[in-house]
Symmetry: C2
Subunit: 338 residues, 2 copies
């Protein structure tokens, strides 16, 4: 898919890979991300060793989550915004969480031509979303890819997602800042953005504030500014946040102001302990998620699947009640109530 | 709440309770439902013994799931429909799955005066929804209550729910037939009924087809009939199903026809193996749900909570990665990858 397949038995030297990542080598980073995306058990072990070795480096990027439904101009925004940052000498990585790729096999960042200029920029690194079977796996691999990008010295990591199902929560829970990108919309229907998504946003950007759409964009922005004021004040926000702004990714207008607001918000949060607090809270969140998933993974082993199939047949035949059958399987797996 | 509290240490005789349920004693049924609703460990054990003892009786009711948002006339429908069935000599039980009761402490069937006539009918049994903390618990207790009603010789068990979150899936997965009750609506917006809910319905009933609303009800019914035709044909449906019909619960109009259609559908499914097939499939579904929940319950023990809190603190402090911490906790609990 991406020309970076891991060969089996290629004697990967994890210490060497670690050094090359710390040395900001893009090929090493790409290879390490392929490693964390692998489901193979030996790869998982190597990935854990690599991440453990990199954790001490203490490098931290600004992680910016970005959500927006297809058509709001996400690619154009990332390209324009990313180019502005690299022009300032910042190194920018772009990752994606795409729950739809599990079904379609495609990926929202698969087509690098979508961000033609940024993908050729030596200070930018764009990585398509992996095809995975469930969001839990995507989340872990993306978190690990973020950690790799940070270790490789990127200043900003943009994590893109489409507004589908739980993917916004996944991205918000691994971001320092969460941006919601919207298109100008007639009427005051707030584009059916769910309250829960609004509550996650730190900055709402109404894109396409250019040409004929500019007045509509400004009206939409005012609508969202009003809606944001109705939300309960969050302790992690200074006065004036969360904020709604208009931008034109196409005309590269408003991007500098948006970046200023993000930096101002980040500065305030760092000074007031909310930045570290959010990261600590997120680490706890992912710990609980990992715990649930690791526990449920116990049912995916061959032995467990055999027991489940046998008990399931008895249940279907009416020979055993579902509850009793569940306890029987867990007992046979040695997972007893303690 | 319901005057049937279980006294601790009252030396409940499960064999006796079993016999009285099989003997169709309402008080025994009410008491048994209170028993299955209890979270106490000794009560859970007694409930399991009782359900096991009743499973052999082989009595089966027609389980009818019924969903509808507040205001569509669910209570009036259940009262009119239930009274029609009892007038035919059938015994009717009414249960409820109410995910909102966990928060409000209330219950959609708490107020028996909502179904005044039916609640006084000696061939009817109405049980309010229990207050529970999560839908998983509500689902298990409702399934067990359904089994108790079947053992107590009821011919029809109506399981009511409001259209909130996952509650429709829960009810559909424990019903032989799933009814969706709707109100007449202007426009062709299909009242925002989600496609997933539509796909669960066997019969859509547009209520309030009386007085001024009758033309609107008929138009709404035609809209839904059209929408149902666009759905993929399901193997468990004879020609003409799923079906949309108008009824007036208030004027008791259309109820006999609706009941005829339900019987016709049930008859066809029984003849073609789909009725038993659906029950077997549902048993498997609940087995898998129970398995997941029983597994996750391992994290709720005091010992587990202590380990989780300690590891969580390390994760929040940045001393351990979420994935490693999760494996450490499971290892300490003796839940190792097999």
């Amino acid at each position: 898919m991406n020309g970076l397949r891991l060969k089996s038995g290629d004697g990967m030297n994890i210490a060497d890979l670690r050094d090359r990542i710390l040395n900001q080598e893009r090929r090493a980073l790409a290879r390490a991300i392929t490693l964390v995306e692998s489901a193979r058990e030996d790869h998982r072990a190597q990935a854990a060793e690599l991440l453990d070795g990199l954790r001490g480096a203490g490098r931290q990027a600004l992680r910016i989550g970005l959500s927006g439904t297809p058509g709001v101009g996400k690619s154009t925004f990332i390209e324009s915004f990313g180019m502005m940052l690299t022009a300032q000498g910042l190194r920018v990585a772009v990752l994606a969480v795409d729950p739809s790729s599990a079904r379609s096999g495609g990926s929202i960042l698969g087509d690098k031509t979508r961000m033609e200029r940024l993908s050729r920029d030596k200070n930018a690194f764009i990585r398509p979303s992996p095809s995975q079977t469930h969001l839990g796996g995507v989340a872990r691999r993306t978190r690990e890819a973020v950690a790799l990008c940070e270790a490789a010295g990127f200043d900003v990591v943009l994590i893109e997602t489409v507004g589908v199902g739980q993917s916004e929560t996944v991205v918000a829970e691994m971001s320092d800042l969460f941006l919601l990108l919207l298109a100008p919309a007639g009427g005051d229907e707030l584009q059916g953005v769910k309250r829960g998504i609004m509550e996650m946003a730190d900055v709402i950007l109404v894109n396409k504030a250019d040409g004929d759409l500019k007045p509509t964009a400004m009206r939409t922005c005012a609508d969202y500014a009003g809606a944001l004021r109705l939300l309960r004040k969050r302790p992690q926000d200074p006065e004036g946040f969360p904020k709604a702004m208009t931008v034109s990714a196409l005309e590269e207008d408003g991007l500098a102001q948006a970046w200023e607001e993000m930096q101002s918000l980040t500065g305030w949060r760092k000074e007031n302990g909310h930045w570290e607090g959010r990261r600590a809270h997120q680490a706890q969140y992912w710990f609980h998620e990992e715990l649930r998933q690791a526990l449920l993974a116990r049912l995916e082993t061959k032995e467990a699947q055999r027991l489940v199939a046998a008990a399931g047949a008895e249940v279907a035949a009416g020979d055993m009640a579902p509850t009793a059958a569940a306890e029987k399987v867990l007992g046979a797996l040695g997972i007893t109530q303690t």
